[in-house]
């Protein structure tokens, strides 16, 4: 990690926190901080990515603004995290994509949709786009050929996975040497990810909008997270059906892909819209406003993915199916492409940070005694 203003501020704040330690019960950040007396750039990147932005330590801080020290750990870490996303981006020159991330993700989305629409029009009889299709196996492929769907999906998603993995590797290396995570550490980290334990302010919830504690954000994030994975599972099942068994989409309402996708889509929609709504009413103090764009763009992209999927399901027997399918696939394509260059990367770095925390769980805090 480079030395930047955000990094210098994070170091200043961590040095104050380390002399205070009042917040050690909130989350994994503070116990990790207590293992250190000096904070390298890599340490700070690790701590920033370990922070789940629950805001507990902001409202609890006796040095929060307007105190002259102006400690605001959630905001500082959010700013630093954004810089780490650019820092670890792979390939390196794509780092700039994080500069105006909101605009870029939105553009990618628009382009994705347009591209698929044009492809659909170009690859098959343009008429197929507007014709009413009966809901029979293969009717989707009349609009977009199966091979085109599969090839694009594999290429874009595959590339994204590689880019994400390289980013994770950059992050892990930058944070300094650590022993290889064992199965216990992996289990702990996985549990932390799946439960979002650290988004619970020590078990009592987050400070969503004020000093009051609530579980709202955690539940909404869960809805989004599990909704996303259900949708992903739906896509994978459909892929397997199509390639291995030769069963052609669309599938029956009671089929596994449709059931997974519908439940997942609804959850994803509830989660993303809810989280977006929360941003509107949040206390702006502990948030880094200039990063709102990236946040909102990703939420919108995910919400669109869910919404267009559900719309497609509703319209698949009508003349609007062609357009609905093309738009939905356009959104999915954008999501695949934008994945490693959107706020989505927070999942990867945070998981890596939790894993790192789990590997150092038995180390003793430094300091007195």
């Amino acid at each position: 990690m480079r030395e930047t203003d955000a990094l210098a501020n994070a170091r200043r704040e961590m040095e104050i926190c380390n002399a205070c330690r009042y917040c050690e019960g909130f989350c994994a950040v503070f116990p990790a901080m207590e293992l250190r007396r000096e904070f390298s750039a890599g340490d700070l990147s690790y701590l920033a990515n370990l922070c789940h932005n629950c805001r507990g330590c902001y409202y609890a801080c006796q040095y929060a603004p307007p105190h002259e020290w102006g400690i605001n750990v959630p905001r500082t870490f959010q700013e630093l995290r954004a810089e780490t996303y650019a820092e670890y981006a792979w390939p390196r020159r794509f780092a700039q994509l994080f500069d105006r991330n909101g605009t870029i993700v939105s553009l990618v989305t628009a382009l994705g949709i347009a591209l698929v629409l044009m492809l659909a029009a170009g690859l098959v009889d343009p008429d197929a786009l507007y014709r009413a299709h009966p809901v029979v196996p293969g009717s989707f492929y009349a609009v977009i050929p199966l091979w085109a769907m599969q090839a694009t999906g594999i290429l874009t998603f595959g590339f994204s996975l590689i880019a994400l993995a390289m980013g994770a590797r950059n992050f892990w290396r930058d944070a300094g040497p650590r022993e290889r995570p064992g199965p216990v550490a992996l289990g702990i980290a996985l549990w932390d990810v799946l439960t979002l334990k650290n988004l619970g302010g020590g078990g009592h919830g987050c400070n969503d909008a004020s000093e009051r504690f609530s579980m709202r954000r955690r539940w909404l994030h869960h809805a989004m997270f599990y909704g996303f994975f259900l949708c992903f599972a739906a896509t994978c099942t459909a892929f397997v059906y199509g390639t291995l068994f030769g069963w052609e989409a669309p599938y029956a309402l009671t089929s596994v892909p449709v059931l997974l996708g519908t439940v997942g889509g609804l959850l994803l929609l509830v989660g993303t819209v809810g989280l977006f709504a929360m941003k509107l009413v949040d206390d702006p103090m502990p948030a880094a406003r200039n990063l709102l764009g990236a946040d909102v763009a990703l939420l919108m992209l995910l919400a669109l993915a869910a919404l267009t999927g559900l719309v497609l399901l509703a319209l698949r027997g009508t003349g609007a199916m062609g357009i609905a399918l093309a738009v939905h696939l356009g959104v999915i394509l954008s999501l695949f492409v934008a994945l490693p260059y959107s706020k989505m990367v927070h999942g990867v770095y945070r998981t890596a940070a939790l894993l790192r925390r789990a590997t150092e769980r038995n180390m003793k805090p430094l300091g007195g005694e």
């Binding site: 002399a19 009042y22 409202y59 006796q62 307007p66 007195g368």
Partner: protein, 466 residues
Amino acid sequence: MPDRTKTYDVLIAGGGNAALCAAITARQAGASVILLESAPRAFRGGNSRHTRNLRAMHDKPNDVLTDAYPEDEYWDDLLRVTGGNTDEALARMTIRASSGVFGWMQANGVRFQPSLTGTLNLGRTNAFFLGGGKALVNAYYVTAERLGIEILYDTEVLSLNLDDGAVRSVDITYRGFPETLHARCVVAASGGFQANLDWMRQNWGDAVDNFVIRGTPYNRGRVLKNLLDQGVASIGDPTQCHAVALDARAPKFDGGITTRLDSVPFSIVVNQLGERFYDEGEDVWPKRYAIWGRLIAQQPEQIAYSICDAKAFPLFMPSVYPAIKADTLAELAAKLKLDPDKVQATVAAYNAAVVPGQSFDNTKLDGNRTKGLTPDKTNWARTIDKPPFYGYPLRPGITFTYLGVRVNERAQVLMENGQPAGNLYASGEIMAGNILGRGYLAGFGMTIGTVFGRIAGQEAARHARN
């Protein structure tokens, strides 16, 4: 807006732990309550927002405390730190009541850290607030708002107008504008007077200019002085305050816990002349840190310097300001603006006097001492010779003052004639001197405020509703 025409059941002067406990208790007992806090909302909560834990008696482990801390041990600890300067009946009542506060605190929003974590070895005697004192204060304010307690910030109580042993009216300034309010009962919970530098100057002279006030700038003792001027009985030594050694670079007010320095037992401490002046290794730090404020206050310019080497540096809690670091002692002395020759001579004399041979153990009194120095260092004495060398400037940091109003076990304020005032109660730092006449027991301030806050709230509500 305060309602001038209304007679509130209970008016609370102050906005820290003691005030909030009283306000919530009174409201839960059915009283109409108004709470007046002189600080703006962002700085509400007085010194309570700087606290971390509370000391509670318990007979068996619970979800926040390990082992047991029985009444007699608690009482012995209190007797030891106060040197008997306490009221046994009030003290024992407080100690006993401390075992029952958790349920009430949790029901009103306070969260505790599970026992065992933390670098301080207080998991047995002290319960740690999750997020510290400001989180506790926030939780109480949320509860107070929910219960319909009227809360006014930027509102200073100027005078509780006593007539014939009862408060008849209350003069305040609300956002700078004078008002007079009426209440059937009043609870004084406005802390000590340590932030009132003019008052402090009466006892300490211009040395106060070199003091650091660890907590809120709003505890100026206005209510305390007003009451004492009207014939309320005082308690506690008016000239004394709890003073610890702090990093001299601390802000004048509100630096809180982070400016504390735990380096003393593992260093030598010299004054501005480069001379040692007290046994740095007299006892374990938690038992000694509170005498160092006074010791430094007695040195020229109220400043001292803790000096150690690379061996000692990892042994204490990191302080908020970076240590001043140098490869030689002369260089370090120069950086600290001390006479390098003098510092080198002091360290040389100290190094020569260290008795070798014992094994070093930072966790107990290890008997590693010097011989033949005045004063000697009697524990953890090791030569200072391994570069780099580290130094910290130290100043006296004032936690609170001891002077307060005298109360009885019902939290009623007593007049000089020994009679309780008719409708005036006190809780927290403003009456802590009744129990803690001297010294300090970590976590006892919040215990006193919680226990007496609840008693005051209960009694005031009952009196007002009758």
